[in-house]
């Protein structure tokens, strides 16, 4: 096999972790004034789609990268637009498949495989990296215009006016979503208010909830093992009793991880901890009635289960598109201790209620 990334246009010394040209028909390189640039298409292969599915479930997410540098989409020339993105392969794939029928240069920044918005928050999708990548790829020799299209969510890390000072390139912040880019270009690089607004629809909420579900299930497995050991030690082990004892906690975690994201706009309270807690209270009452629990069991459920849902729901703040750090800090300050106390008391009561 030929050396896949012979071009200095990619500006990267690493061997590719993911070959973005896989499944791309025909010539995989475009000859330019700055060397051979890897060519990509707007068609996602089966491997691309499988990869997307896997990373949504957290499988290999840290290694899902493309090599930073320049890529040719379609048949771009020196007048074609330059689109900037992150080297998270999901971001790169999303961009190229939304640009079907367009000729463009894609400039991939090294964000350590993190998406544009998160990386911009960390500063890796940032002014310095963009300036550096413009210079490494000799972009100024490749195109005759001086306009870069940067996704709006990159604005947290990229200061347009500084990029202009340091490279001469004008940064135009494009729409939030790649699917609006064509309409944005057709409108003469003008964004409608809708293109600028970040949404958090049901399907978006559930897509990002998958990661929290995986995390919650990891907590559950730990709990299940502890419970199993406890039951073995006390000599009361049976699969039926294990399932019976694990079910309430399983439900509480699931409510925090799935019901809170799904019903987010409709659950009372703005605080995520309280939203989760409320769902947990409903669950604790339902479970206690199913169990025909006595007062200690009922109180134990009411103290433990809402605290668990609350914790999982609070962690979902990291997946949302509208929570602020000051706000989450306030929630932690207010609720972390009471919820931890509540959980510990609940466990103690449940141990007394059903030894």
């Amino acid at each position: 096999m030929a050396e896949p990334f012979r071009s200095r246009a990619t500006g990267d010394c690493c061997s590719p972790r993911v070959d973005p040209t896989q499944g791309v028909p025909g010539d995989a390189f475009k000859s330019t004034s700055v060397g051979d640039v890897p060519a990509v298409t707007s068609v996602l292969s089966v491997a691309d789609r499988l990869g997307r599915w896997k990373v949504r479930w957290g499988i290999g997410r840290d290694r899902y990268r493309v090599v930073p540098g320049l890529y040719a989409l379609g048949g771009p020339d020196e007048r074609s637009p330059v689109m900037v993105t992150a080297n998270y392969k999901l971001s790169f794939d999303q961009l190229r498949c939304q640009l079907r029928g367009l000729d463009a240069w894609i400039l991939v920044l090294d964000t350590n495989g993190i998406n544009v918005w998160c990386a911009a928050g960390k500063g890796t999708f940032g002014t310095d990296e963009l300036v550096n990548r413009i210079q490494l790829t000799e972009l100024a020799r490749l195109v005759t215009h001086r306009t870069l299209l940067v996704p709006q969510l990159g604005a947290t890390g990229v200061a347009g006016y500084i990029v202009k000072q340091r490279t001469g390139f004008n940064v135009i912040f494009g729409p939030v979503r790649a699917r609006d880019i064509k309409a944005f270009l057709e409108a003469g690089m003008k964004a409608t208010p809708e293109m600028r607004r970040v949404t958090f629809t049901l399907s978006e909420r559930m897509t990002v909830a998958q990661m929290d579900l995986v995390a919650a299930m990891k907590y559950f497995l730990v709990y299940l093992m502890l419970l199993g050991v406890l039951k073995l030690v006390t000599g009361s082990f049976s699969l039926r009793s294990l399932a019976y004892a694990a079910f309430p906690v399983f439900g509480a975690l699931l409510l925090g991880a799935l019901a809170v994201p799904a019903l987010l706009p409709w659950i009372p309270f703005r605080s995520f901890a309280l939203k989760g807690w409320l769902m947990g209270v409903a669950w604790a009452i339902a479970v206690s009635m199913l169990e025909h629990a006595g007062p200690a069991g009922f109180a134990g459920n009411l103290l433990l289960l809402p605290a668990l849902s609350s914790f999982v729901a609070l962690n979902y703040t990291g997946a949302t598109t509208f929570t602020s750090q000051t706000g989450v800090n306030k929630e932690i300050r207010l609720f972390a201790r009471p919820m931890a106390m509540s959980a510990i008391l609940g466990i103690a009561l449940l141990l007394i209620a059903r030894p």
């Binding site: 840290d62 947290t156 006016y161 958090f200 598109t321 509208f322 000051t326 989450v328 306030k330």
Partner: protein, 96 residues
């Protein structure tokens, strides 16, 4: 959707603002609007403190304690005594 009331640290200095409106175009939640040629906060509770506006303000008229609104990151920061950082992977791998 709105998060907690009155917590955002966003402040705009009307004296310094030149009304270029770049902050409006980078804000993901339409927090800012232009009134009489100056950027003003229209909807403080919609602000998620991402910092896009202050980063792109050419005259530093906008101040906000930008950060991640992620409980996991903040808790981990408290635990290790580091600033809150997203845990979404992203450790730089050694290069060659």
């Amino acid at each position: 959707m709105h998060y907690l009331q009155n917590v955002s640290t966003l402040r705009i200095d009307a004296q310094t603002c030149i009304g270029c409106d770049i902050c409006m175009s980078v804000c993901p939640h339409e927090v800012i609007e232009l009134r009489a040629g100056k950027a003003v906060v229209r909807d403080l509770d919609a602000c998620m403190e991402c910092g896009a506006c202050s980063t792109n303000c050419p005259v530093q008229a906008i101040h906000v304690q930008a950060g991640v609104g992620c409980a996991h990151a903040i808790l981990r920061g408290m635990f290790y005594g580091t600033p809150p950082q997203c845990g979404c992977g992203g450790n730089p791998k050694p290069c060659c």
